[in-house]
């Protein structure tokens, strides 16, 4: 009972703040709403007993990315600046398409009967996660781990190169 209330609360928060994120005319505020959405998601992960994931969600997503976004907002626009919204026609068309899509997906989801598994759940303690990440046996994720680390490295270098102030503007006109 408790958990259901909790879930409805979180779900409500996620939906409301999502809508606010995409509709708020003040960008900084939108970023804060996004933060709330992400924290609520983390809460859902806690509910599902994936504690490590929830922690990552909080630190990387809520902590890292949102801060990054807020910084960039501050760098590129004034706080008081109001975002220009799309014109009525575009909004309407997008809402229509999105509504139809949502309807279609929801219909599909509700029509399908999922059979919950009765198997005992694998624990996901930090130890488990750590072991799985460096294991290359079945249920091991060493390769994706390596790949993602290279990706991160590449993104790091890429971000630096792209954002660097060009001394000579020969390449990027």
């Amino acid at each position: 009972m408790n958990s259901e209330v909790m879930f409805y609360l979180l779900a409500g928060m996620i939906l409301v703040f999502s809508v606010l994120t995409v509709t708020s005319r003040k960008i900084l505020r939108a970023a804060v709403y996004l933060l709330f959405v992400l924290i609520s998601t983390a809460a859902i992960y806690f509910m599902l007993e994936y504690t490590f994931l929830a922690a990552v969600q909080l630190t990387v997503y809520a902590g890292g990315i949102v801060v990054l976004i807020i910084f960039s907002v501050l760098l590129t626009s004034h706080i008081s600046e109001k975002a220009i919204m799309a014109d009525r026609k575009q909004s309407l068309l997008s809402a229509l398409a999105v509504g139809a899509g949502a309807l279609l997906t929801l219909l599909t989801i509700l029509k399908f009967t999922f059979v919950p598994s009765a198997l005992p759940a694998q624990t996901s303690t930090v130890t488990d996660v750590g072991n799985a990440l460096i294991s290359y046996e079945r249920d091991g994720f060493a390769l994706p781990f390596e790949v993602i680390s290279i990706l991160l490295l590449a993104a790091l270098i890429g971000a630096i190169i792209v954002a660097r102030k060009e001394k000579d503007n020969a390449i990027i006109k």
Binding site: E4, T21, V22, I27, V37, Y50, Y61, S94, L151
Partner: protein, 105 residues
């Protein structure tokens, strides 16, 4: 802890969040807010993965790790995207997506 909440509920939330994100992507003119919409989309996908993992295949952690990796990718993507946005801002003095239409023919 999940008690009697059916899987569908999670899916409904994630679906709605996903489409809200898409709506934002389609209507926001500011590149940063578009980026935020994308984060919403990614997040909704994460919820899906986690919920499926929990309900349908609790015996292993595939969905869990997928989510983990997606978060990592999202971080990388955000970093690069913001770098690009800042660069665009430098060149165009604007991050309005309508002004950045060099992509055409």
């Amino acid at each position: 802890m999940t008690g009697s909440i059916p899987l569908q509920y999670f899916l409904i939330i994630s679906t709605l969040m996903f489409f809200i994100g898409i709506y934002g992507f389609l209507t926001r003119k500011n590149l940063i807010t578009m980026l935020m919409s994308i984060e919403l989309i990614l997040n909704s996908v994460n919820i899906n993965f986690v919920a499926f993992n929990k309900y349908l295949y609790p015996q292993n952690l595939q969905g869990h790790f997928f989510t983990l990796i997606i978060i990592a990718i999202a971080a990388a993507e955000a970093a690069v995207a913001i770098a690009i946005i800042i660069n665009i801002y430098r060149n165009f003095r604007s991050i309005d997506v309508d002004n950045v239409d060099e992509l055409k023919f």
